[in-house]
Point group: C2
Chain length 477, copies 2
């Protein structure tokens, strides 16, 4: 007699076999039908008990959330809604779940309520589906890169460098916070700290990934990154996971080609591997949006949207073209933008990105060749002397999902840029070394993993697509 997962019982041909299964009770109705789930799939297996053959005290413990073990025969189901079911011959309680105190009852709970119970919300269908999709997306990402000749590079999390300037950083220390050692000048003496210097949590592994790309050719990171920014929005986390591929000998066009191919393939991977979960999430979204005015509802159901993105070309537009489109757009002329677009050089706001993606092009958009002034120091200056080889990928409903660039490979130009921005060369001596020895055209991008999960699951708040979200004032669990 073998132990199976619900997924195996529902998908393999095991009819008339005696099977054992462990799982948690979803519902128990008519003292007869147990819907049992073990996390292997969104679907439950129906287990039919003849209540007269079982101890009443045992059946009383078969409540929503209880962990039980069932043995029985797998048979064709007579009822609607399932092909097979288990005729239960034996039932053991691993651990009960008192209906008076167990918070996850078979009814609708708000996402806000469930956020307070982040250790139990995974027991709901919605969160189990999200987290299985998240896991599949992760693997799809690794598989894509490994099949395409990339090496996984583990960027350091604790960093002694704070020159990247991607955002505010968290300090990491083992010094006594109340009585830190001081220097003669009264400053904190970081020489006595664990690493002998000030250290922070990384905001990006890009600069370090470049060192590896300039030897292994193609590498990618997939790890946690941190921003100590007080942004309490539905799109920001203080701790999030990021994927940062970096490729030697890739120019900006190669970079855009890769990013588009990568995203499409990863989405195809979940379409192929998470069908049941995506169908559930699609239905959830439809239900949620029923209460919204038509204009705020999604244009396409979830799966159609994912197929659309994976099958259609992203629109590539220069920043300069985008400014023209925006300047001549209805909302700009009618002064509907909070930040009117008057001239070249303006930084694009979320309202502009959404207009381009959702109203104008109605598809994912890659904007490239941005003004140098609004982009990072390491991006390659174009021959025009005023734009850089940067690109952002904008997604409907999400906004920026990828930011990347060709990197400045010329030592003299990079040094000028750093001097102009007051970045100390000694701080980045190793980064400059890459331009001194065997320098070459190279490129890369960063993809915020949780934004991709948001997009793939149709969820609206980034706190709901990571197991234990870290946000201002919240590091519970």
């Amino acid at each position: 007699m073998n132990s199976y997962s619900v997924k195996e019982l529902l998908s393999e041909n095991l009819l008339l076999q005696e099977v054992t299964i462990n799982g948690w009770v979803k519902t128990f109705r008519s003292n007869r039908f147990i819907a049992l789930n073990d996390g292997s799939t969104i679907n439950n297996i129906q287990c039919v008990v003849d209540f007269e053959s079982f101890d009443e005290d045992v059946l009383k413990q078969v409540n929503t959330g209880a962990a039980i073990k069932i043995t029985g025969t797998l048979v064709e189901s007579q009822g609607k809604g399932q092909k097979v079911e288990i005729q239960v011959s034996n039932l053991t309680i691993h651990g009960g779940a008192d209906p008076e105190t167990y918070p996850i009852q078979p009814k609708k709970h708000s996402l806000e309520f469930l956020r307070e119970k982040a250790h139990l919300r995974i027991r709901t269908n919605t969160f189990a589906a999200i987290m299985r999709v998240r896991s599949a997306l992760s693997f799809g990402i690794h598989q894509y890169f490994q099949q395409n000749g990339f090496n996984y590079f583990h960027a350091p999390i604790i960093t002694g460098s704070d020159a990247e300037g991607a955002g505010e950083m968290f300090k990491v220390s083992t010094l006594d916070s109340k009585k830190p050692p001081l220097t003669e000048d009264g400053d904190i003496n970081y020489k006595e700290d664990f690493f002998g210097k000030e250290t922070n949590l990384t905001v990006s592994g890009q600069l370090e990934a470049e060192t590896y790309a300039m030897a292994l050719g193609k590498v990618y990171t997939f790890g946690p990154t941190f921003r100590a920014e007080n942004s309490n929005t539905s799109r920001h986390l203080a701790e999030f996971w990021m994927i940062e591929p970096e490729m030697a000998f890739f120019d900006l066009n190669d970079n855009m080609d890769l990013a588009e191919d990568f995203i499409k393939n990863v989405i195809k991977y979940v379409l192929e591997n998470c069908k049941d979960d995506l169908e559930f999430l699609e239905k959830r979204l439809l239900d949620e949006e029923k209460t919204k005015p038509q204009a705020e509802r999604s244009e396409m159901p979830l799966i159609e949207k994912l197929k659309f993105v994976s099958e259609n070309s992203f629109k590539r537009v220069t920043y300069t073209e985008a400014i023209d489109i925006l300047r001549n757009s209805k909302p700009n002329k009618k002064k509907k933008f909070q930040y009117p677009i008057n001239e070249w050089g303006a930084d694009l706001q979320s309202e502009h990105e959404r207009f381009l993606v959702e109203k104008h092009f109605k598809c994912p958009v890659i904007l490239f060749d941005y003004p140098a002034k609004i982009k990072a120091f390491y991006m390659r200056l174009n021959e025009d002397g005023k734009t850089v080889r940067a690109m952002d990928i904008l997604f409907p409903g999400i906004g920026e999902i990828v930011g990347g660039s060709q990197r400045e490979e010329r030592l003299d130009v990079l040094k000028e840029k750093m001097a102009a921005l007051g970045i100390d060369e000694e701080e980045l001596w190793w980064y400059l070394d890459l331009r001194k020895f065997g320098s070459a055209v190279h490129s890369g991008f960063g993809l915020g993993f949780e934004r991709l999960v948001l997009f793939a699951t149709g969820m609206g708040n980034i706190r709901d697509v990571i197991p234990f979200p870290r946000t201002p004032q919240n590091a519970e669990f």
Copy 2:
């Protein structure tokens, strides 16, 4: 005309085709033979230039480390050592590498020297091979779990809980270190810190992974973990990557079966996918050990050792049996152990683990059923009341590579354990919830990723198997 990787040129049938390739010069001899590498494989492609057809100033820049682009025809090689080579028709310099200042010259560099140049050491054959094996091991791990029904769980890195007690922690904060806000009592007011409480870097994702296992069934973490311990050894890092599977309805035997099967499969994965790199690393190790006395050399060459581990059963021994073996062992009787084994209950030291693995059993060993007193609070108490269902896997040359246990699923027993150790129930209310609602037998283990990379590559120092090691007084790059 297509651009290829060296790996493709060496393995695919492209004879007589015109090809383009980018890479870095390994050597240039006789003004004629360029050994070119692009990181895709340990092997170089030989590029043959007719120096009379090329500009002297260009050829002068073809130094070790220079990045170049070559176009030419792939032909059968006349020389020994390679099957194919490129007859170069065009050669462009991306970026030179001045032999006077470029540190990575084609000669033997000590590992210590290279640690100071962690941004360039990846350009050596040794480190490129190690890091490709590291990448393949990572993917082998993900693939194993995904194929076996596990979901990848991203454990939080910043944690508000410090109850796990696996080691000293790093503090994470955004408070002004010099003038932190104080409470009325003169303590630091962490309510004003970013998360509104004291936070640290995680030492283990296990407790959080348990919350997900108790809903999804089988999950695994693969992420960075941290120990603020002042251990300057060849086996410890302050920042390292850990894999922590956690499985509902698994007892200790299931756990040991999984851990053994997992390690064997992951090692098979690299044996199949990293043949060239492993052969190189095997030779490197043989060379290194030539200078050592016979007794200190490895018993088997690297690849034979990996095959041996992947094909033979690990020996399973209870702690009690191990103590008997050690007590009666020659080194114990001859007082050769630094810590003599006199009685049951003693914690095993590295010297004892090495004796069991390397001298007594001569294979990987799983020790289980340890005394409760020397193990963590969450491990399941056996019926004898004095041992817990813990297991450690010990590897030759490495020592402990896996530590795991069946978890205490009984609320009352767990509470007693916590009380005895002074662990606050309020601190772990969510962990206790798992025992209140739908509790069940469950198990898991942790594998230190870098120790596995050490084992698979035959390297001796853990600083050499992670790109940018973090150790006391060292967070460079």
